[in-house]
Symmetry: C2
Subunit: 192 residues, 2 copies
């Protein structure tokens, strides 16, 4: 087991409905030492990709993306989920279906922040069905930029997002892939 898998075993909580709570160290409270180590691991795995920029979506991806961008020494952009009054009107917008909440959301990035030819690393805390990722990919493609890698903290390996993205040729690296989990026995199986 790697450092993130060990931490999930120690501090994660399994809830009914295949919910894995990691809010004590990853997406509500953040252990910045852990986040930095994750950033270094993403750098190691994507070192040959010549990344220009890290892109994530608010809110829980921001901390990991920020620390990853710091290690890589590149800027980080986070996509917004709603149009605030001072975001301007020159925007890339993509629709995202949420399977969990049965709603349609948007991911939005100002056009001045993504440029043709830029090499983009996508970062997020969770990957399940991959809907948010396809929203970010769409925005990067609208900008004429290129997704050169996708870095995920925790992939739910029993949902289709990871398999789909790999099949579509994306270089996806997940630091922990949950193969299965059981809310009654509290057991988590990670993919080897």
């Amino acid at each position: 087991m790697n450092f993130l898998e060990e931490r999930i075993i120690r501090d994660g909580e399994i809830k009914p409905g295949n919910v894995l709570k990691v809010d004590g160290f990853l997406n509500h409270q953040m252990d910045v030492v852990l986040l930095e180590r994750m950033g270094e691991e993403f750098k190691r795995r994507f070192i040959e990709k010549q990344i220009d920029k890290v892109l994530t979506v608010e809110a829980s991806g921001i901390g990991i993306a920020c620390m990853c961008a710091r290690v890589l020494q590149v800027p980080m952009v986070f996509a917004k989920k709603s149009v605030s009054s001072n975001l301007g009107d020159d925007l890339y917008v993509s629709e995202v279906e949420s399977y969990t909440h049965k709603t349609t959301n948007h991911v939005i990035v100002s056009k001045k922040l993504l440029h043709k030819g830029e090499r983009i690393l996508l970062i997020d805390d969770f990957l399940a069905n991959g809907c948010a990722m396809y929203g970010l990919i769409d925005i990067v493609e609208q900008a004429g930029a290129e997704v050169v890698g996708i870095g995920i903290a925790i992939e739910k390996g029993f949902q289709k997002g990871g398999q789909d993205l790999r099949k579509n040729g994306y270089h996806l690296e997940s630091l922990a892939i949950v193969e299965s989990m059981n809310a009654e026995t509290k057991e988590i199986i990670f993919r080897k």
Copy 2:
């Protein structure tokens, strides 16, 4: 002028209605080198406060708070603005009036993440009327913890938030205080 004021002059945009856009380096795209320098400056200003934890509110405060927490080597917690399905039900909740959008929002923190006696540094990107800050202060007080400092990137000195917080005895440090700005002449005056 300090490093943040210089950056605001260089890359900030003044829009009608006292709107200062800093989305190219602070709250949409993030310059992580700048954020780290801000974290170091907050550490310098709050070094004697023996901070246990950094608290901010999603989404645009997260990057600054994360980098500040990294420099201080303490955990960071971000308050959520809505209750997601797996947040649990043991929550501190505070109502926040938004003067800008004429709405009532909430800031929400899981009870397991704030504890009696903890020394908390509040961090945010902007301070205007201070409503979001009073929401965070309320949550810290509900937990029996103590706000030992408030670190802000950009304070709108012509709005009442900063004056109020200082009058109420809080140790508030803003890296840039905008005294006035003019969308026509593009001039910004910072407080000395």
